[in-house]
Symmetry: C3
Subunit: 230 residues, 3 copies
């Protein structure tokens, strides 16, 4: 089903049973997989490839227990040129995927997020709202990127890195703040990062570490709790 | 494809290519996304919203290596009023989602499970069979809730909490028992909980902790292995 | 949509809106769920069951930041007799699932991988490229199996085990090597395994452990960093 208000570029390949809702736009030479759902207003650039069974441009949903208030009307999902998106992904409105970014299968990214140029969001990665991811960042498979987090350029997150933004776990008395990961830092697989900590430029966090306080630029920290070793 | 035996309420919005199998029921004012599959006998309440590409009412599958015997005929999946379900979820038969519960994108919940009123099951959460989740519980993104586990009311599980129920890992000589998490307890992100332990009422488990034995009510435990700090 | 070159066996059950591309083959008595996508050349054996909304035979995708060079033309996805595949899975080309293997919902397995006879790949498991998984292996829910890894016969990985293969995290100066897990070893839930380590035959790794070096056959190691305790 293609809504008559949708705009489809030249040489676009559309799979079977694709749904394209009102005011969606698809650039030239794009390839859209089977059973993909492109929700209203979504903007897709040139040469973008979207895997099968993905949802593009979801609106935020909530139940009455959730803390965050619904924001102003959300801007559309914008996918710039040459982006690659996997299968079975769920991407929200008010999300910007910059040129050449990659999003793996079974991943989901919420609203108020930017993913920088050529960055890689691996498979099975979940990114929460209100987070900025720089350029040439690698977020490997299975990472959890919390809300209110900052990941600067050239950061490397190994597989299954876990982050959080709520120091008092649901008490509602803490200004949410995710970790801040400075330019070029590297974090090993399955590391645990606590709310509000800063990982300095080019710092290295060992696999399996639990980081409870700031780590200075260029330092290496390992263990639980993580301690600087050099 | 809507089976002629299915019952659809008033003012129901159905997406494109929805499959509704025999004896399924959908309440008034429900919204069902595109490409959703509602399997036979599933009962969906009033004002329920279901995201795109979800499977509701799956029957258990197994191969010959799996330990658990197939049970008696499974009751249907029952989704009470005002429940919200994300995109790309997989929900099994013999599952009860109570009024106002929320299930995030890319999550899956197996059979013989109850999720209490207004509880939140985040995105990318997997819940195994034979587990009870109370009311107003928060299970954040990426948690793994094992089988044979009890989560009481008002518990908070931070992101990526991992649990297990099989002390001897596949030897088959141990009565499976997941963790028991008492009312109001809070567990930090990426914590590891061993089989059969009890986390007491309002106890707090630090992020990244590995909990190998019981933690008393009101206590805080951190580290690997977790030790009480106050 | 079924391509005219596809071959469908006897007594095959096909769900709604199934897409079957060119040269795909489906054996006798197979059951294919709704909205499944069977990509070109995929070979499916007899009595195989495939859950709804799965993608079978995906071709590798990449962006310009990714390290691995595109290989030679990939062989097809081959699924042997009696395999069970869940819902919302993403399985790549050049993957062999041997007789009786099980793949859970929301899992994904990449190219150049073999899964042995009767092995279980749980729900929400991601397996990277160039990895060998033996027979009768259990990979429980939420595990991350990195690239260039060897898992021998009868290994048991508990839930959420995390592995890695890149010692220097993206520097590009290290021959990628994932962990080697010898026959009959068991790894507890949410353990972290570093690149290139060997877990010996029938060794046991505790839940939440971070394994930074080899563990000898028959030994048990726990903690962060993991130390042998008996």
């Amino acid at each position: 089903m293609i809504h008559p208000s949708a705009k489809i570029g030249k040489n676009v390949v559309l799979g079977q049973s694709v749904v394209i809702e009102e005011n969606a736009e698809i650039g030239d030479d794009a390839e859209i997989g089977h059973h993909v759902i492109i929700k209203k207003d979504t903007k897709i650039g040139n040469r973008v490839k979207v895997g099968d069974l993905s949802v593009l441009g979801k609106t935020t949903s909530k139940n009455k227990k959730m803390a965050r208030k619904p924001g102003a009307a959300l801007t559309p999902l914008v996918i710039e040129d040459d982006v690659r998106i996997g299968c079975n992904t769920v991407l929200y409105r008010n999300l910007l995927l910059k040129q050449g970014a990659f999003v793996g299968d079974l991943s989901s990214i919420r609203e108020k997020v930017t993913v920088g140029e050529d960055s890689i969001i691996g498979r099975n990665v979940i990114v929460e709202t209100n987070t900025v991811i720089g350029s040439r960042v690698t977020v490997q498979t299975g990472c959890y990127v919390t809300a209110d987090m900052i990941i600067e350029d050239d950061v490397f997150l190994g597989p299954c890195v876990s982050t959080s933004n709520d120091k008092y776990m649901g008490e509602g008395n803490y200004p949410y703040q995710g970790p801040i990961i400075k330019k070029g830092a590297k974090v090993g697989n399955n590391a645990t990062l606590l709310p509000g900590i800063t990982i300095g430029e080019k710092a290295i966090i060992g696999a399996g570490a639990t980081v409870t306080k700031d780590v200075e630029a260029g330092k290496t920290a390992v263990g639980n709790p993580a301690r600087v070793i050099k």
